[in-house]
Amino acid sequence: MQNFTQILFVMWRETVEAMLVVGILYAWLSHNPAGARGLKYLWGGVLAGLAGAFLLGLGIDAMNDALSEEEHAYFMAGMLLAAAILIVQMVFWMRRNGQRLKRDMEQTLSVNAQTENWWGVFSLAAIAVAREGSETVVFLSSLAMGSNGFASAQFWLALGLGAVLAGATFALLQLGGKLVSWRAFFRVTEVLLLLLACSLLMSGIEKLIDVQLLPVIVAQVWDTTGLLDDGSVLGSLVSSFTGYRARPALLNLIVFVAYWLAIRWMMRLSRRPTAAA
């Protein structure tokens, strides 16, 4: 039987990534009246993600049987890369438009351009929730299969914990937005999301390396397992949120550096957010 700590850890880890994305997007969109329409797309995305999580989670055995190794890798890589791109797009959209007043935004951005961005919000929320959610569903459904089925105390404990932790992450983010200046909040959350996007990018290319679509070039450039083992509890968390790898292949390093160089370059090009909140 899984003990309380194990359940707590898994539920926290699974919900925090998705809630980080949803929570930050919510804070950004509600900061400014022009984002109000985007909020509807955000919640729509969350609902779509939940539906997707159930389908993927409950159908995990069917999926394992139906898809070949390559198909599975392409599907996962596609989701990961799409999420990474959407995050980067969102960050830069906010940098350009986050400060604009509603009327100003409606004048400068065509309806299509606005809507396009809102669909980006929808998609990002949906992918983030579906990805982590599907693993949570597999985890939860097996607890429910315990001796009492759905009456199993562990199932309800885990579900309750998940809801509380997700809610807490969300609330903490909104609180953070209120406690510090908008500029500081935006800077920190922007970095958090860009780190996450890097991690998703790394995971995506690793899926493709695995089915030999991409070359490692050098299998292992160094081994910093002694410093931080990415298989350990702390290490796997750092790995999920930043893209850290204890034994990186050369391709991992190339993509990592290229990603941050590209981000820096794009930041130079875009207008910086103004100090006025």
Partner: protein
């Protein structure tokens, strides 16, 4: 009579080669609520192989290995496989992401 047998035999051989396909080396790994059996799996280096994972426990598991770049969730009783491409000689660690504290297993390629 002999000729007919020879032709049949040859046909069967060709059919076997065409449809039998490449026989992938297969290894089996059981996972019982985070405990892997065998804990250390010996495999030949430089050969592509199939790793069948069977969740024989009562809880969901997630076979994960950063080095092998694999992640696979399995519900109790679930069985699936991952294809591992030719490995350099060495030790490759894996763990159950749903039971992290239980410990790691490893695949040793020689």
């Amino acid at each position: 009579m002999f000729n007919k047998l020879a032709v049949c035999g040859a046909a069967l051989l060709f059919a076997g080669a065409a449809f039998g396909g490449e026989d992938l080396l297969t290894f089996s790994l059981n996972c019982n609520n985070g405990v892997f059996a065998p804990k250390v799996l010996q495999v030949p280096a430089g050969k592509k192989f199939k790793l069948e994972i069977h969740n024989v426990g009562t809880e969901a598991i997630e076979f994960e290995s950063k080095q092998l770049r694999k992640e696979k969730a399995l519900s109790p009783g679930g069985k699936s496989f991952v294809v591992i491409y030719p490995l350099e000689p060495g030790e490759y660690k894996y763990f159950d992401d749903f039971h992290v504290s239980v410990g790691q297993g490893s695949i040793v390629a020689k």
